[in-house]
Subunit: 201 residues, 2 copies
DNA sequence: TCATAAACCTAACAAGTGTTAGGCAAATTT
DNA sequence: AAATTTGCCTAACACTTGTTAGGTTTATGA
């Protein structure tokens, strides 16, 4: 019973790659089977449906992100440090598996009930993590008094959009990207302690 | 010859809505026909293929954005004003047709050659508009000396992600969103004229 | 060695896919 | 009034879809 789900893992990984490349709907079970050099019907020994594969990918990523957020919140940090860590963790997880992340970010829409509702709940839970950090920062008076919902969306958009441009062969390492992105985001969030002549307070 | 393409326009609009809702691949020509109360085959009197409809939507949006960018650049403004105007225009166009925009942003991947290459070219052209403004701002010394490619991606991610959360019924008007978003983005971009104790220069 | 389970196979299904051919009726133009 | 165009129809095509049933091979463990 050492690695009972080795084949399962393999199928999921392959599926994620193909789901990303062709889109969930355009990717057929025969495409997946073909990539694994088996017959389409054989997949049904491991999963009961194509949608089950999709759901596993989506939920796995969601839980990874939520766990990372919990970890961030467990350690005591001020809001800025928390935000920096949350961004770094988020980018790290995405960059670590671009295919699954792309599926998590875009293909979850193809889920049907009851998966869909469950997924949305997890997604909300995660986004609330960011919201809480930002709200905290505003209360601590280290962040500008921005509309926190708006700020959350801006932050999430920046960290999520990485999937559209990140290439593992590029010269920027994930940690470096996280740092730059945090600087960029915080440049907008951070309370200006002094009057900047170009900035209307 | 007043409104020769009225029906065509109708089909495109309906298609855009359905492409957004179900995804291009999952949306069948029968779905589109059904929504218009006609038969699937009748669509082929107006278009030669399902893909043609997709391509029209993608290219229409691309050209709208490019035209707006040209307009922005035609008027003399400094970099900050240009960026603000580009963001406002971009958000305005997206919010004005959320379905087509969603298709433009996400479903273009389903295009095949030669559409795909042509689309990518237009997309690049548009993104270069943003890049140029930011580079200009850095040269004018009103923007921080950030990695301009990185800044472009951050800006684009913020303005594009609006599609994931904007609801026309919400209480924020597009112009207001554009303003807040510009403030947010510029907060990060703008050159700090004085030392901020929380900011490592 | 034998039993069990895991992994995969062939064959087939019912339903759905984009698309084409050819025709009919109404509107528009000549 | 005749000719043409526009918009839509029915019927069908060749093919692909996810999935199931039932059987065979391969590995595992007693």
């Amino acid at each position: 019973m050492k690695e009972i789900n080795n084949r399962k893992t393999q199928i999921i990984t392959t599926s994620a790659t193909l789901f990303e490349q062709k889109g969930y709907d355009a990717c057929t079970v025969r495409d997946i089977a073909n990539a694994l050099d088996i017959e389409a019907a054989s997949l049904y020994h491991h999963f009961k449906s194509k949608e089950e594969i999709l759901s596993i990918i989506c939920f796995e990523m969601a839980h990874k992100l939520i766990d990372a957020m919990d970890e961030t919140n467990d350690i005591y940090f001020n809001a800025e440090q928390k935000l920096r860590m949350a961004i770094e963790q988020h980018l790290g997880i995405i960059v670590n598996d671009l295919s699954k992340s792309a599926v998590f970010l875009f293909e979850w829409k193809r889920l049907n009930e009851p998966f869909l509702s469950e997924f949305k709940t997890l997604r909300n839970q995660y986004e609330n993590g960011f919201k809480q950090i930002i709200t905290e920062g505003i209360q601590e008076d280290v962040f500008d008094d921005v509309d926190s919902k708006f700020a959350v969306l801006s932050v999430l958009s920046s960290v999520n959009w990485i999937i559209e441009w990140y290439k593992p062969t590029g010269n920027m390492k994930p940690k470096e990207i996280a740092e730059k992105m945090s600087d960029f985001v915080l440049g907008g969030l951070r309370k200006k302690l002094v009057t900047d002549s170009n900035y209307k307070q």
